[in-house]
Symmetry: C2
Subunit: 343 residues, 2 copies
């Protein structure tokens, strides 16, 4: 069955397509009554305009896309809400697009930009390692949100909003050291990670060094490659290995909260307790860290502020007020039950 088109509606109403188009798009130059009549016919016949045709014709549409990389992270839920609210407040419309773990987000963005005539793009999550050449194919403004960039990128070529992963990680490890811990294990990303995983690991190393503690390689664990990264399951499996290794430690810093949850479970299963036997700390500030038992010490990222600032910068970019911008927010060390001073 052929779908009904704007021409059919026009014929049914005995008017031209222009008039129907005006009715649909709330154009001013149309009398109230013809408009009402047309809308009625449209409703009766369940006419729905074809978006492909609209996008094709439209030269510019006021829409922003948010691209999320990888499996949905609970961390992003709140951010997305803020994005949506802020974008709507600017009278723009908003597209949420998932990007597969093994897809190239820039390619997706380039396609989407053409398809939907985007005005701007927000990249959320994932690592970011693309050639300048590729980035240049993006002709609309974009902002990297919550994506740690290693320093080799030329900051004048992109915009970003995030926390300082290096500094915040340092803050956490510094806190643990100050609590008297001298043997602090870490669960971090794989060693070839170039993004937040690496930055957080660097912060750990620096903090140890500043406290004149040796870096013990046997206390440095990477997430398992064959398990979903940053997941509870991964934290659990890695911690089991750490415990089995027999290497002594008194505190464990996991570079994400989910890893920390898994770590706690592994510790409980070994008959030990948190924080009496081992202090455990996470990173991100997920809700679960508050609700877990014991509640988990973490670094809380100010997600609302990050999201709001992301949109602010994006619109400044769109309005050509700036050519690029970088904003880092301070994160908050949330000291909770899972860490304690070393006895």
């Amino acid at each position: 069955m052929a779908s009904i088109t704007i021409i059919d509606i026009a014929k049914m109403c005995g008017v031209g397509v222009t008039t129907v188009s005006r009715a649909i798009n709330n154009h001013p130059d149309i009398s109230e009554e013809t408009k009402a009549m047309i809308m009625q016919v449209i409703k009766d016949n369940h006419y729905v305009p074809n978006n492909s045709a609209r996008n094709l014709k439209r030269s510019a549409s006021k829409t922003i896309a948010v691209l999320i990389k990888g499996i949905t992270n609970p961390f992003f839920n709140r951010m997305i809400q803020v994005f949506e609210k802020e974008i709507q407040r600017k009278k723009y419309s908003f597209i949420l697009q998932h990007v597969d773990e093994n897809q190239d987000e820039i390619e997706v963005a380039i396609e989407l930009e053409k398809e939907k005539r985007l005005k701007g793009i927000v990249f959320l999550g994932g690592n970011f390692s693309h050639s300048k050449e590729k980035l240049d194919q993006l002709t609309v403004p974009f902002v990297l949100s919550t994506i740690g960039m290693t320093p080799e990128y030329d900051p004048s070529e992109y915009s970003s909003v995030s926390v300082d992963d290096y500094k915040e990680s340092y803050k956490m490890v510094d806190y643990l050291c100050n609590q008297g811990h001298r043997k602090i294990a870490i669960i971090t990303a794989s060693m070839d990670d170039v993004s937040i995983g690496k930055l957080r690991y660097e912060g750990y190393k620096q903090a140890l060094e500043d406290h004149e503690l040796p870096l013990n390689e046997k206390l440095v664990y990477s997430m398992k490659e064959n398990i979903e990264s940053y997941s509870m399951e991964n934290g659990y499996a890695v911690t089991k290995e750490l415990l089995d290794s027999g290497e002594e430690f008194t505190a464990l810093f996991a570079v994400s909260d989910s890893l920390a949850v898994g770590a706690c479970k592994a510790i409980f299963e070994s008959g030990k307790s948190v924080p009496d036997d081992y202090s455990v700390a996470g990173f991100d500030g997920l809700d679960i860290t508050y609700y877990y038992n014991p509640s988990i010490t973490t670094i809380r990222q100010p997600v609302e502020e990050i999201a709001e600032e992301t949109i602010r910068i994006l619109f400044d970019l769109i309005n050509k007020k700036i050519t690029h911008a970088h904003k880092t927010f301070p994160a908050e060390l949330m000291i909770r039950e899972s860490t304690t001073a070393r006895k």
Copy 2:
């Protein structure tokens, strides 16, 4: 800067647009060498076809859309992975589309069907209460996955895959009763909920009745409207109220795992323990129920099977092997540390 089009490429290659189109779309009627040449030019110039134009022209595209209602639920992550794998295995492409809590998923689906020339649709999550008239506007096959439908719907008008929320809920409460609990509180959806919330509540009522236990209205709590539904925060807030009410109970059944986690936290904060003072049970089988401390008794939905069957039915629908189908999977009662026999 105007975007480069297929015509530009054709000119650059000194061929017709048809030939370029053939190269892009892997058509057979084209010599290997011209194809290679064209692809090279395309690559050099970073030409990306405009999807809107393609969709507009294409009569049919082999693509399936999965629509997710509401805030992303960790429950869905695994399902989405399976959907993607299965859909790709059938050589179809796959679109993941989020639907806002206050958007009408059917309307989104209708638009998307036209825009992308969909072959089929999967609805995931949310309640489902739409007129037959509206459903009829969907001209492609669709399957409701994990969406409890109340009986008033004519089952011959749609297809679905899920667990029997009523029965599984009954199973849980029956188990609690068998453990000697006689005062079982419940945190359920709001009373006007027509979907899984209602079904799970009905199961609770029936189990009490079958055990000849009175239904105590003072132990029936609905989630708070002003807090994100089915969230830990909601479970926490409601349980605090329940505890403050002073009404006696020995077990608490929360209709989702996240609610159960929040409930545990509230109980801990009141100085009581789980399960010694109160048994707590959830529903869904999220990872966190295993990793929580204590681990939480729950009903584990077989997400992989549900997802696989959803796709199987969808393709049977597409291939006109069937006109509709309903499949319910048994869920598994996972007895863990958070529940115990009443002393």
